[in-house]
Amino acid sequence: MVDVLKKSIWVFHLNSGSCNGCDIEVLDVFTPRPDFERFGVKLVPSPRHADAIALTGPITRAMVPKVVEAIKALPEPKIVLAIGACACGGGIWHDTYVVVGGIDEFYKILKEEYGMDPPTTIYIPGCPAKPEALIYAAGILADIIKQKQRRREDVIREEDEEKRKIETIIREEIGSRHFLPKIIVKRGPKEGSV
């Protein structure tokens, strides 16, 4: 959870090579129907005035030094909103020759070459991210709502009963062809004649 309670965050919009889908949604969230300004959020012209950076786009190589400058200029405590599939994980271009590939790959470069620790990041998936998802993110920061999405892991094991059934059916089939039992004989994992 974010250390400092953040209401009325001021946001600096930064497009690092995006297709503009998420950028239009960032602009759209300030129009009358979604109305981001209810939460005191404002778009500011300089990172020095901002609390958070709204980053869109899979960071292209040409943009890496500029994004670093912008993040350095953000005063502490820093928040980065990674908006859209491209910023969260690189999107559909995560491995091309001119793209860094999402905000986490970018943080590796930030640590190795510039010695900076990654700031608090909020991931907002979507392609493009709905304006309501952005409001949801502001709601989480302001503690109005709780995060819903959690990791899910399921392990499916077969029961021994089932496994035996399968093997029996198959062995019956093998038995029904007269030459197969000679060939399909259990043997060790190394090479050897049947």
Partner: protein, 545 residues
């Protein structure tokens, strides 16, 4: 039709493939300039150029120049080849201005040297890309990471002016562009730009990792405003290459979504222009009305912007009666509210004074530069891909193409306003006449190495895609060319002699979409956008104070 074939044959061109949409013409290096000149004089304009590495096939590199001849309703693709050991092709830029960027780009990514090119400089690759490494050659992997060559970023000093860096992040810029302005007091005396920050390497990605059925999803993400047009254009290019007929119902559904995208894009433009003129009330009203169109799109396709609805051979989802009714109801509301908004705004003298007789683009200049879309129609040129090369269901529908002769920002404004209402009329016809039947062709064969050209009328103008197929469900070469590419060179002409305060509205009037112009760059000036360095600097120097 016969004339254009005669022109080609007289100038040593050999017609290899004849299709109802395009002609593939092979020409040798010695004769390409003359043939290009002859075609330009016959009334064709330069659409785009594609370089391709065909060494695995026949040991040569090829350059395809695509020209659009509206009179004969065909695209003419000129193919010139060069062997690897002698990789030089005569440049056709001295004959046709529009070929400038296409040739620079082919040089950047393939290493072809264009002899006689006036400005052979790096265009699209990032600054720290090493020399001599050509990404679109077949021996370069799409995900190969090349070590950066860090260069010192220095300002180029000038004695008579102060250097002012601008960008790539600036409150007025929605997209990253970088600019260095030379100012003498308040006057701009020059500019130096750098762009292509949005180059993401999607052409190489399409050749490398993706199959022919996954590329529509990449095409959709070229631009977040006119993405569906790119998806349809790619599907049409492949369908032309294979010779596939799409079922009628699918054509109607495609038309429906294309028109919805046009409405949303134009209303978005109105909002942005009002904002650039300082009229934020209009911006908020326009985008409030636009929400209704986004709701229709979400109901029909499942997403507000990336519709994801079309694949090669048809569309993915059908539309039922209930959705039809909801669409019509919402569109009627949009139509009423936009009429009210336009009536109110056009009665405000303050707005009219700022856009009337401002940003003039004379008709003959417009033709020689090759502008497309509402910019051309605002200067009196009657050009529209939906009428010139009919595609999808437009051949069965009745609509007008608005053309205004004012050549100023007001004309482009009125063209777009009329187009919104024409689009609503088109959607009503589509929903009324939609036939039954299948929506997708299930199985089809893809022949190897087949060339296809697809074109659509995006909200911003003509959009062209060029495809060469390959075996095994892959694509050999794909080149999307967005409409803003052709419209950008007209901005210096429009800015000539204007006041600096009018610059944002003028540049906004071509509806620039930087991300579309994808591999290309666009550059900006202190408030809006700029393009070519040379002519732009001249234009700015001549700005009256």
């Amino acid at each position: 039709m016969q004339d254009i074939k005669r022109v080609i044959e007289e100038n040593n061109g050999k017609i290899v493939v004849e299709h109802d949409y395009f002609l593939l013409v092979e020409v040798s290096r010695e004769h390409v300039r003359k043939l290009a000149r002859a075609l330009f004089e016959a009334g064709a304009y330069y659409s785009t150029g594609v370089g391709s590495d065909e060494r695995p096939r026949n040991g040569f590199f090829a350059m395809y120049h695509i020209l659009n001849h509206e009179e004969s309703k065909k695209y003419i693709v000129l193919k010139v080849e060069a062997p690897e050991h002698d990789l030089r092709i005569p440049s056709i830029t001295p004959e046709i201005e529009g070929a400038n960027w296409a040739e620079r780009e082919a040089h950047d990514v393939l290493g072809i040297v264009f002899e006689g090119h006036p400005e052979p400089e790096r265009l699209i690759l990032p600054d720290d890309w090493p020399e001599g490494v050509y990404p679109l050659r077949k021996d370069f992997k799409y995900n190969e990471k090349v070590k950066p060559v860090r260069k010192e970023e220095k300002f180029v000093e000038r004695e008579d002016a102060l250097v002012l860096p601008l960008g790539p992040f600036h409150p007025t810029l929605h997209e990253p562009e970088y600019f260095e302005i030379y100012v003498d007091g308040e006057t701009i005396v020059g500019a130096r730009y750098k762009g292509f920050f949005v180059h993401r390497g999607l052409e190489k990605l399409a050749e490398g990792r993706l199959t022919i059925h996954q590329i529509p999803f990449v095409a959709e993400r070229i631009c977040g405003i006119c993405g569906y047009t790119h998806m349809i254009c790619y599907c049409q290019a492949v369908e032309n290459a294979i010779g596939l007929e799409v079922p009628e119902r699918a054509e109607y559904i495609r038309t429906l979504l294309l028109e919805i995208e046009r409405i949303h894009s134009h209303i978005l433009w109105f909002g942005v222009v009002y904002h650039l003129l300082g009229f934020d009330t209009g911006f908020m009203h326009a985008w409030r009305i636009r929400e209704k169109v986004m709701d229709i799109a979400e109901m029909l396709t499942g997403n507000r912007k990336t519709y994801g609805m079309s694949l090669v051979g048809g569309v993915r989802r059908d539309i039922d009666e209930d959705k039809k009714e909801k669409t019509l109801k919402a569109l009627r509301e949009v139509s009423q509210e936009m009429k009210k908004l336009f009536n109110d705004v056009l009665a405000m003298k303050e707005i009219l004074n700022r856009i009337e007789d401002v940003g003039i683009l004379p008709k003959d200049r417009a033709r020689s530069i090759g502008v497309v879309g509402p910019v051309a129609r605002g200067s009196g040129i009657n050009t529209d891909v939906r009428k010139d090369h009919p595609y999808a269901a437009y051949k069965y529908l009745d609509f007008k193409v608005p053309v205004y002769n004012g050549c100023d920002v007001l004309s482009r404004y009125l063209v777009r306003a009329d187009e919104i209402f024409e689009s609503i009329y088109l959607i009503e016809q589509v929903l009324d006449q939609m036939p039954g039947g299948d929506i997708m062709v299930e199985r089809f064969e893809v022949p190897e190495f087949s060339v296809g050209v697809g074109a659509t009328e995006a909200p911003r103008g003509e959009d062209v895609h060029f495809v060469i197929t390959h075996r095994g469900s892959k694509v050999y070469r794909w080149r999307p060319r967005a409409p803003t590419y052709n419209n950008l060179p007209s901005v210096p002409v429009m800015l000539e002699g204007e006041h600096l305060a009018d610059a944002p509205a003028i540049i906004g009037s071509i509806d620039p979409c930087f991300s579309c112009t994808d591999h290309v760059t666009i550059v900006d000036d202190s408030t809006g956008k700029i393009l070519f360095r040379g002519p732009l600097e001249d234009a700015i120097r001549r700005l009256k104070r």
